[in-house]
Amino acid sequence: MTPTGTEQEQGFYPRLNAAGISGGRFSGMIVSVVGKQISNDGQLLILEDGDGAQMKITSPENSQNTQFIEIVGACAEDSVQHFVTRQLGDEFDMDTYNQMINLQNGKYQELFYQSEFQK
């Protein structure tokens, strides 16, 4: 259950970058972040998003990953708690992905968002 009291439908999770996480709007929700791995000490995984900003992932997996990964997890105030990792290879276009999620979370929410969470 999210802070607003509305349950997120299965399979619905906003795609965010560092600015989206720190904005606070999605705190308490299941979200997805995609980024380039910068470091992973077993306790904290750092990803870099398309804007060059860093995102903190807590409780990460300790498995071999490709350079770019997607993490689905629970959004906190300034980090995401790891649930699932998806491999996105070593040649993922972060810039275009960043532009895409800005459109998803902005003008085109109708195509991507559960209606209760549209702004």
Binding site: T96, K107, Y108
Partner: protein, 272 residues
């Protein structure tokens, strides 16, 4: 890739938007009558998100996307789980917009294609199939479920969904061919390497685009099979339009679904 409904990328094994008569094995054994094939101009495929699929279900059980019944849909999503039986493989897939069930009958899976045995949860796949509803719930009967050729296909697919939605809206408002305005509104930057975004040339913003469109539309009214590429080129070049501009305009029109191929891939008819 074009959305005229008749051409598709060869990385999908030459899938060409025709109806391959996919039925379950049980239905095959008892079927005596075949469904009437949709008219050519109604056979089209559109990219959708799971959210669009879920919202497509109407009160009378139809599935309408942007007001139309898509012949086929394309979805890029991540496998959540797989359940394989003797007759079918059932996937639950999600793309961040929702979760949907996809069923692929095993008699449609090519035994030589290892995809059926190599797919696993947390893999992104490209699904092509038919959108259906049952008791108000949307699902997809897939003709093909394959690993994406590149992770960038996820981004590309999402952008395609936005693009097709905008084109449908423009078509509905009568502002046909105004893709220049669309590109400004959507705010795409310069085309990046590794991303084959098909909305880059601004061909639709040139005067020649409208000329070519008007020419094909005029001939489509009087000709059942439409008009050939050679004839379009001859007419347009004699009016001072370059061959390259004509070819670009034809490709753009086909990609937007404004024209479609009829007797062969170089004969076109206006869709609307």
């Amino acid at each position: 890739m074009s959305y005229g409904g008749f051409e598709f990328n060869t990385d999908t094994n030459g899938y060409e938007g025709t109806d391959p008569m996919i039925t379950s094995p049980a239905a095959n054994s008892g079927a005596k009558e075949k469904k009437a094939r949709k008219p050519t101009e109604e056979q089209f495929m559109i990219p959708i998100t799971v959210r669009q699929a879920m919202k497509s279900v109407t009160s009378d059980g139809q599935c309408l996307v942007d007001g139309r019944d898509p012949h086929h849909v394309k979805l890029v999503a991540c496998i959540k789980d797989i359940d394989q039986t003797a007759t079918a493989i059932s996937y639950n897939v999600e793309d961040g917009t929702g979760l949907i069930n996809v069923k692929e009958w095993t008699n449609n899976v090519n035994p030589g294609d290892g995809a059926a045995t190599t797919l696993a949860p947390q893999m992104y796949v490209r699904i092509i199939g038919k959108l259906q509803s049952f008791q108000g719930q949307a699902s997809i009967t897939a003709y093909q479920v394959k690993l994406v050729s590149s992770p960038n296909e996820l981004t590309h697919h999402m952008l395609e969904c936005i693009y097709v939605r905008e084109m449908a809206a423009k078509r509905g408002s009568g502002a046909i061919g105004a893709s220049a305005a669309l590109m400004n509104n959507v705010g795409f930057g310069p085309q990046t390497t590794g991303m084959a975004l098909d909305m880059n040339s601004g061909a639709s913003s040139t005067p020649h685009f409208q000329q070519v469109q008007d020419y094909i539309q005029k001939f489509s009214e009087d000709n059942e099979i439409g008009i050939g590429r050679a004839q379009i080129l001859q007419a347009m070049t004699s009016a001072g339009v370059s061959e390259k501009a004509v070819s670009l305009a034809i490709d753009q029109l086909a990609g937007d679904g404004m024209i479609y191929s009829t007797t062969d891939e170089d004969t076109f008819k206006y869709a609307l």
